[in-house]
Amino acid sequence: MNPVLIRLDNIVRTYHIGEVDVRALRGITYNVLRGDFVAIMGPSGSGKSTLMNILGCLDRPTSGTYFLDDQAVSGLSDKSLATLRNTRIGFVFQSFNLLKRTSARENVELPMLYADVSGKQSRERALKALKLVGLEGRETHNTNQLSGGEQQRVAIARSLVNNPSLIMADEPTGNLDSKMSEDVMKIFLDMNREKKITIILVTHEPDIAAYANRVIHVKDGLINREDVKLDIGQGGTR
């Protein structure tokens, strides 16, 4: 198996607003290794979310190539992208993005609906995932009856159920206090260490970035700098 999970080659993303072109990404070239834990930092408006959207197959680059698992994502149809998001990628958002008036369990079951997992199996896997994030006993609670930290843990459980190889988290602790943030980060760390799931997360806080093996700093749509934890060894930049 190719140790490189993600290969980005000169990724450019330009938004057209009327006559003006906003160059959110100006040529990102970077590799992410399988099982790595990468934090992305950078000032507001530097292009972090734009990059995450492309990595998460929610958006397509204006130019450049993106290989996920040796597959060129740029050439895929909307349908194939949806399948990719469903089976290979898990999302965790700053604002949780859970369905309202819906129980924790049903929220976690949602990705399995679109993966054609049987009802019985979805239920079992959802309960297991909720247990994993420490929400045993809260399965039937509606999401609006849960605290922010609990909601984010439901979202993490949801991102895990289809056994993705990659989890994308855009400021997952942005709406949480430090205690909750710590709980959430511990879960991410466990996922990364025990399940070998590759994690890419965006954060503004150095404390949070410290959980990662590498920290890349984005500025004005370009990678500015990469910090690598000493015990990890040579990284992915080419």
Binding site: N53, L58, D59, T83, R85, F91, P111, L113, S118
Partner: protein, 416 residues
């Protein structure tokens, strides 16, 4: 696999509808009223048609009517080359047309009829002794009456048989048999009463308001005698199957009698009762179509109601759509989810509408104003209304659903 997903998405749609019960009920109401109105209105039209058909069938479907003048649309008769209908033709028809069983001349005159102090204006028809059979008339058995016989026709006896409505007007509550009525000072003895046939579908009011008398008497005593033109000749064929051949035979004979060149158009008209019944029934179809179309408009309005509420529903749930897309829902999954909602609205509304329409048409005659209206709910109209409502759901639900399915997941996720 895929079917299971469809079923689960269907459940999602259903749950979204049960969540907003009031909204769902009101949206459905539009369809319920639309479908109900279509079914009720069409049932009124169908009832009218059946009524007309039944009345014509009572006249006998193996009947032919010969009248002078060519057939024209709108019932007008052309004047060119019209040859008066002569009495001797009746005998010729009986002698030379094997498919004809009976034939009677008809002289008509509208006159004031007097019995004691009562006065009644009615139609007097001079016919022969077979007219009761031709016209499918039976005698009212509550009176000890009879129809007139050939001897009475031959001798020009001043006897008569009364229609049921004429009896009601001239002899309220008394037995007319043996009584003498006066028409233009000519006394006629009542010898029988006809059983009522009911209101006629066409113009001219009741067919039961008339008097039958031997044509000889009517011609000599009321119309002044001579070789007066017949109003028509009434014919009945041997049986229903030979109606067409009787029609051909009579037409041939009439052309020969009127000395028409081959290719020249008829200057007389032979009409089949079944044809008349058909065309009268057809005119009720216009009524059906008209009522149905008006009702369909309300169904259309119901459809627009669905579209409106679905658009609201989509814009309320943009965030949800974004979440579903981010975690792997395909366009088609989103489309189906919202389309199902619209279709459930219209199909459930359609079913309830069928019940409403059915109930309305059954209960309609309990309302005094509509007491005389007969209604028939046909399977066809039920299927049509239901099919139309399902179509309305898909048609008006498609646009909002496709709007949802074509959202950009990033935009949708960011939507507040």
């Amino acid at each position: 696999m895929k079917l299971k997903r469809t079923i689960r998405i269907f459940k999602l749609s259903f749950r979204a509808l049960t969540r907003n019960k009031m909204r769902t009920a009101l949206t459905m109401l539009g369809i319920i009223i639309g479908v109900g109105a279509v079914i009720a209105m069409v049932s009124i039209g169908a009832g009218a048609r059946q009524g007309v058909e039944a009345k014509f069938n009572a006249m006998g479907t193996n009947n032919l009517t010969v009248s002078s003048g060519s057939r024209m649309t709108g019932g007008a008769q052309s004047g060119t080359g019209t040859i008066p209908l002569k009495l001797e033709v009746v005998q010729l028809i009986l002698d030379r047309c094997p498919s004809v069983a009976f034939a009677s001349p008809v002289y008509q005159t509208r006159n004031q009829v007097i019995f004691e102090n009562k006065n009644w204006n009615t139609l007097i028809q001079g016919v022969n002794e077979d007219f009761d059979i031709i016209g499918n008339w039976t005698l009212d058995s509550t009176y000890a009456g009879r129809f007139f016989e050939q001897a009475e026709v031959d001798s020009g006896a001043t006897v008569c048989v009364l229609g049921a409505d004429t009896v009601t007007n001239l002899f309220p509550g008394s037995d007319p048999i043996g009584q003498i009525i006066r028409v233009r000072d000519v006394p006629f003895t009542v010898i029988g009463v006809l059983k009522a046939k009911g209101q006629s579908g066409g113009p001219g009011g009741s067919r039961d308001d008339m008097i039958l008398a031997p044509y000889t008497a009517v011609l000599e005593r009321l119309l002044g005698g001579g070789t007066l033109t017949l109003n028509s000749i009434q014919i009945s064929a041997v049986d229903e199957e030979s109606t067409d051949s009787a029609m051909n035979e009579v037409t041939e004979l009439m052309r020969e009698y009127n000395k028409l060149e081959p290719g020249a158009s008829d200057n007389f008209t032979v009409r089949n009762m079944a044809d008349i019944a058909e065309s009268a029934a057809d005119s009720t179809n216009i009524l059906t179509v008209l009522l149905g179309s008006i009702a369909s408009i309300s169904l259309l309005v119901g459809g627009i109601g669905i579209m409106n509420i679905m658009l609201v529903s989509v814009s309320e749930r943009i965030r949800e759509i974004g979440i579903r897309m981010a975690i792997g829902a395909q366009k088609i999954d989103i489309l189906v989810q919202f389309l199902f909602e619209a279709v459930v609205l219209s199909v459930v509304g359609g079913i309830l509408g069928i019940l409403l329409g059915f109930g309305t048409s059954k209960l309609l005659h309990y309302i005094p104003m509509f007491a005389t209206i007969t209604t028939i709910v046909s399977t066809g109209s039920v299927l049509l209304a239901f099919g139309f409502s399902a179509f309305v759901g898909i048609f008006f639900g498609y646009y909002p659903a496709s709007k949802a399915a074509h959202m950009d997941p990033i935009e949708a996720l960011r939507y507040e």
